[in-house]
């Protein structure tokens, strides 16, 4: 199952002076249960793809399959609603979308939109807030009184409360401090281990190496590479020419290799590198 894109093209603001083509003939699959990363320079179309995955945008041409549902240019809102229940999309800076007067109400809002009773929605909200590390003392607070990192968690809990099978994260840790970033990445890892499919858009190659099992590389609206991170990051020069880069340790190992150190494959984590030094 999972998500499949077939021959997808997308043009934004069609028919306006701002019209522009963002995606060209994209074919790809996001496997069920995978942790799939998307990388690409600014303007490569990553965010546009994310918005296609949950039906926020519909393709101008081609089809997006989510499990057995197909989204095309002519899809009706009624059909797309089911897709939105399955695929939870966390935008960049999701805290800007908080609006309710209390944290609990904000998180319980989403599920009620999908026909869940108020009681059940609040039960879900409590559960998901606990999951993202927001303790009960905050439940009745105004979300705008929280710190940026806490607001981000509340917004993520709001998506989790809709119980999606697939969680799409568009640069979920952008703008957070290192501690907040690590805590969120750990949360997503746990969600993945519990069976959720995770789709991550990121600029942090170390995160791709540490967490993802598959990676898609985009450039100006086209898919140029895809595969396992350990394979993709062997292409150091190519990725650098695209201003994407590789994990720090991969670059470090490549520099040693250039000096004459024998390395068959470049490691993508620090642990792997130390292992190679030890056992050759």
């Amino acid at each position: 199952m999972g998500i499949t894109l077939e021959g997808v093209n997308y043009t934004y603001q069609k028919g306006t002076p701002f019209e522009g083509k963002a995606l060209f003939d994209i074919d790809l699959t996001i496997a069920d249960g995978s942790y799939t990363a998307f990388i690409g320079h600014t303007g490569s179309g990553k965010s546009t793809i994310m918005q296609l995955l949950n039906g926020l945008n519909v393709p101008t041409q081609g089809t997006v399959y989510v499990d057995d549902m197909a989204i095309t240019a002519g899809s009706k809102n009624k059909d797309i609603k089911l897709v939105r229940k399955k695929v939870g999309l966390v935008f960049q800076f999701p805290e800007s979308q908080l609006f309710e007067e209390t944290v609990l109400k904000d998180v319980a809002f989403g599920p009620q939109n999908f026909g869940v009773s108020k009681e059940r929605a609040e039960e879900l909200a409590r559960e998901k807030l606990a999951m993202v590390g927001i303790s009960e003392e905050f439940f009745d607070k105004n979300p705008f009184e929280l710190s940026g990192g806490q607001m981000r968690r509340v917004a993520i809990a709001g998506i989790l409360a809709m119980e999606p099978n697939i969680l799409v994260l568009d640069e979920p840790t952008a703008g957070l401090d290192p501690k907040g970033r690590r805590e969120l990445m750990t949360l997503f890892k746990e969600l993945h281990q519990s069976g959720m499919t995770i789709v991550l858009v990121t600029h942090l190659m170390d995160d791709v190496a540490d967490y993802a099992d598959y990676v898609n590389v985009l450039e100006t609206g086209k898919l140029i590479l895809s595969g396992k991170p350990s394979d993709i990051f062997q292409n150091v020069d190519l990725l650098e020419s695209k201003q994407l880069g590789v994990p720090k340790i991969t670059k470090f190992a490549q520099n040693l290799r250039k000096r004459g150190f024998q390395l068959e494959r470049l490691p993508i984590t620090t642990e792997e590198f130390v292992e190679v030094l030890k056992h050759g």
């Binding site: 952008a174 201003q243 470090f252 150190f261």
Partner: protein
Amino acid sequence: MTNSIEVRDLKFKYDQEQEHYTLNGVSFHVKQGEWLSIIGHNGSGKSTTVRLIDGLLEAESGKIYIEGQELTEDNVWDVRHKIGMVFQNPDNQFVGATVEDDVAFGLENKGVPLEEMQIRVKEALELVGMTAFAEREPARLSGGQKQRIAIAGAVAMRPNIIILDEATSMLDPEGRLELIKTMKAIRDQYGMTVISITHDLDEVALSDRVLVMKNGQVESSSTPRELFARGEELLALGLDIPFTANLIKLLRTDGINIKDDYLTEKELEEQLWELLSKA
């Protein structure tokens, strides 16, 4: 060298009922042309400090001198002209319908002649790599692109002092490093003083001096290298541990002994290669 900014014993709280001071006796100085990074955990008082310097908040006690002139209620507007301030979230600062209008806004207010204004806007957009977006709507750009525009807006004003409050946080690592290097070049060219609040290790590494803030006070002032040698403590200060420090630690558990606690990537590469090529 003269001081561009001097801050003496600042005390501040947002609310009279607040138990502890948000800033509790903050003193430091920034030299003319210096690049000072301010780091510290959330709530340590970094943003509050720079808001006081820009006169956006008023201290309960203490003094602030900008280029030798004491900041008062009467001169706050004049002093603010010397300072370009860029916040983390540029959405709250956009006013123009297009990117170039937005960058021109401050210049227009200041009465810069049209011809000069066009030159400065063009230059500023080139510096931040956003020339191709001059006629786009700011609202439709990505977070990182918006931050570039906000920085262009500040640079176009040619202030003597630029204050960046996590102003590059939404940029990708490569783009951020490139932009910081560009900012450093502008600093050198115009002799600007830069204060930058950041969590980014690469940026801290490039700065002249680092101020660490903790619980509303200045915890320390040091070179980046001295700071990075503090190892695990860095986490508590809101920074990551440098990649090389982590690697050195892991290597040691495997019996590869690198003496120093912190080295640049190049230095570690040298040392490691020396060990490996002998083995």
